[in-house]
Amino acid sequence: MVAACLGLSLAGGTARRVMPAAAAVLVPLGLSLLVLHGLFFPEGRTVLAEWGPSRVTAEGLEFAGQRILQLAAVVMALLLFSFSVDVPDLVAALSARGVQGRFAFVLASTLTLLPAIAARAQRIRQAQESRGLVVTRSLVSRAGAFRLQAVPLVLSLIEDAGTRAAALEARGLSSTGPLTSYREVPDSSLQRTARAVLVLLAVAAVVLRLVQAGSGG
């Protein structure tokens, strides 16, 4: 599963952004899992090493390894999605399938929110720098600059939201009638087949686990 995600992200050209993000999430989590289960797994029988109350057991390590792999699969799949999804395409596809405009907008603006806030923060920082705020590369200087930007950022976002709401309403965002989409989302038969196969595989995997568990218990 992890390998498949890696392969896909390499093919999609997003590996350079997916990998660091995945590492940032997985490395600390993985280490803590290793320490916790590797050293203090109560059901561990095969002792590999022992320091006082803590023992490294083979079962503990195996359990930790499993958990890390499961987590890695989930994290990689989510990151791959968020880094490779094309927001306008997603919104267009949703509205083509009859999802309400308002809902599609909320979804899209959630995904575009961070870049939008970052752009606004950058504008405020540029204004402040142009008036003599010195921001160097040091962490302290950056933290200080952020403190100065936080209040104007929040205020300007709130103010902006008010005007934009009026504009969006006037342009019929909350219209309840049928919607159409300017953007055409290409959907090849290969994509459709791949989706169907993936859904079948996912169902099969769940059924398999259930059967295993049933026969095991």
């Binding site: 050209g13 490779s84 204004a127 142009s130 921001v135 104007p152 342009r171």
Partner: protein, 529 residues
């Protein structure tokens, strides 16, 4: 357009029986914002028949934008303020008395009949559309128009507004003038019977103004009622059927343009007349430091291209296949510019020519791809923007991008005490506010000032620092006549004190009248204007 609420009879009091029935009309006895003590509007009566062209003229702060937003349904009575009077759309009259029983306006339904272009065009962007074409189509999508018709409408509108070459661009990367065109397109594309535009000429270059004029005539021919709110008497407005003059929230005069222009005192002095293109240069005092010396600002061989935005997925691969060059297109090419202390230089150019990009190099907000920028003889490469800012004051194109504090006084004082110490900072801040006529507004919130005052406040923040280089991006936009005089005086006195001033503007007349010399930015190169 009404959801519930009592409706009084749709009488047509106030209209002659043989006059065409207005598609939109308003009789505002009084409109007061909820947090204000005095009414923002009093006794404003307007009506717009189909195919009419009306100009509502007034200085900044006269209540134009409030009238416009009320007419367009962007300021629904009840939500933000209390209206007593009526609004009438397509023969349906809504009576308001400021009480809880007032009818409610459905903004979406109202917006289908009345298109509105706000003063700040950036606020119409939906922010979730990736290209100009999709942004234009947003309103059509919500109306459920067939895709083929939608594509045709987008093409047609883009052609009318000169946006054809920009259809595949990200709206966030448009220049100020291009954004204005897009906002107009978004409002008119759904074909509303009434189109209200607030200061549409601001930041439009000559080509844009000509396109807008053609557009207005075309809309009128098709029976659209066009309403333009303006503080400048642009030549197009002389074609209007009616002028309504607003001053301090009330109508002081109305009638045919010719009559109003010829009768003395009908128009407030603070309404701007555009400087004619061929205006002779006004006698400016000769620049103080023109003798050969060290220029205050020197650009040597500066070229610049924006790094390519990380295109995603499909489109990126497609463009790679199309064999597009890897290097981004250069916005600036081999720019050579030297400005002496005391000299005022105007940089002109079309919308999107790269004027703002050029200014942002002066203090290092943008760094040249090649070439060098020197301020006071020192290369600024590697110096933090904040340090260069001690000698370079930059006035942004959008005052909203520049203002971030809670009060006017705090805004002007920001960073000043670090520069000159608290005591001098207080004096300088007060002096700068006096110079732009905002001394009385020191404790107001910057966002609540009218557009012209916001602009002047942004100017004050720059002046208070007494920079050696003053860089002004479209300083005339959004200024009314009084504001323009204050700007002129401030720029001259700064130059007289030895500051090098660079102002970029699309307004050739203003450039010629205000500067010692002009250069034009064309195709990324500086050429003599």
């Amino acid at each position: 357009m009404v959801t519930g609420g009592p409706q009084n009879g749709a009488g047509n009091t106030g209209n002659d029986s043989n006059a065409p029935v207005p598609v939109l009309a308003a009789g505002i006895r009084q409109f007061t914002f909820h947090d204000a003590h005095a009414p923002a509007l009093r006794e404003v009566a307007v009506s717009f028949p189909p195919g009419s062209f009306t100009a509502i003229l007034g200085a900044s702060g006269s209540g134009k934008s409030t009238v416009g937003r009320l007419l367009a349904g962007w300021l629904p009575p009840g939500a933000h303020g209390a209206l007593s009077g009526f609004l009438e759309l397509s023969g349906t009259r809504l009576e308001f008395d400021g009480g809880p029983g007032d009818p409610r306006i459905n903004p979406a339904e109202w917006g289908r009949h009345v298109g509105f272009v706000p003063q700040d065009p950036a606020t119409v962007l939906s922010t979730v559309r990736a290209t100009v074409a999709e942004e234009l189509a947003f309103g059509l999508e919500n109306a459920g128009m067939e895709r083929a018709a939608m594509v045709a409408a987008v093409e047609h509108t883009a052609a009318l507004l000169g946006l054809r070459s920009k259809l595949d661009q990200d709206p966030a990367h448009l220049s100020g003038g291009q954004l204005r065109r897009l906002a107009i397109g978004c409002a008119m594309i759904v074909g509303p019977p009434v189109l209200v535009m607030d200061e549409p000429f601001a930041s439009l270059d000559a080509a844009g103004a000509a396109e807008l004029a053609a557009l207005v005539r075309d809309l009128q021919d098709r029976g659209t009622a066009v309403v333009i709110l303006s503080q400048t008497i642009d030549p197009l407005l002389r074609e209007a059927g009616t002028w309504v003059v607003l001053s301090e929230g009330t109508v002081t005069a109305s009638g045919a343009p010719a009559g109003l222009e010829s009768s003395p005192g009908a128009l407030p002095a603070s309404i701007r007349h555009p400087v004619p293109m061929h205006a002779a240069a006004r006698a400016l005092p000769q620049a103080a430091g023109t003798e050969p010396g060290r220029p205050a600002l020197q650009l040597r061989n500066v070229s610049f291209g924006y790094p390519e935005a990380p295109a995603r997925g499909r489109r990126k691969r497609k463009s790679a296949q199309a064999g597009e060059p890897k290097h981004p297109a250069l916005v600036l090419r081999d720019i050579e510019l030297a400005v002496n202390p005391g000299e005022i230089v105007a940089v002109t150019g079309r919308n999107g020519a790269g004027k703002s990009t050029l200014l942002r190099h002066f203090n290092g907000l943008l760094r040249p791809t090649s070439g060098s920028v020197a301020v006071g003889g020192t290369d600024i490469a590697g110096a933090p923007v904040g340090r260069t800012a001690a000698s370079v004051g930059l006035l942004f194109q959008q005052p909203r991008d520049q203002l971030f504090e809670r009060t006017v006084l705090r805004e002007v004082s920001f960073g000043l005490d670090r520069l000159v110490g608290p005591a001098t900072a207080r004096n300088r801040a007060a002096a700068a506010l006096r110079a732009v006529g905002l001394a009385d507004a020191a404790h107001d919130h910057p966002a609540e000032l009218p557009a012209s005052a916001q602009r002047l406040l942004a100017l004050a923040t720059v002046l208070a620092r007494k920079p050696a280089v003053l860089a002004l991006d479209e300083p005339t936009v959004a200024l009314d006549g009084d504001g323009l005089d204050l700007l002129d005086a401030a720029v001259r006195s700064a130059a007289a004190e030895g500051a090098a001033v660079v102002l970029v503007t699309h307004d050739l007349g203003y450039a010629r009248s205000a500067a010692h010399r002009s250069v034009a930015l064309d195709g990324g190169r500086l050429v003599p204007a």
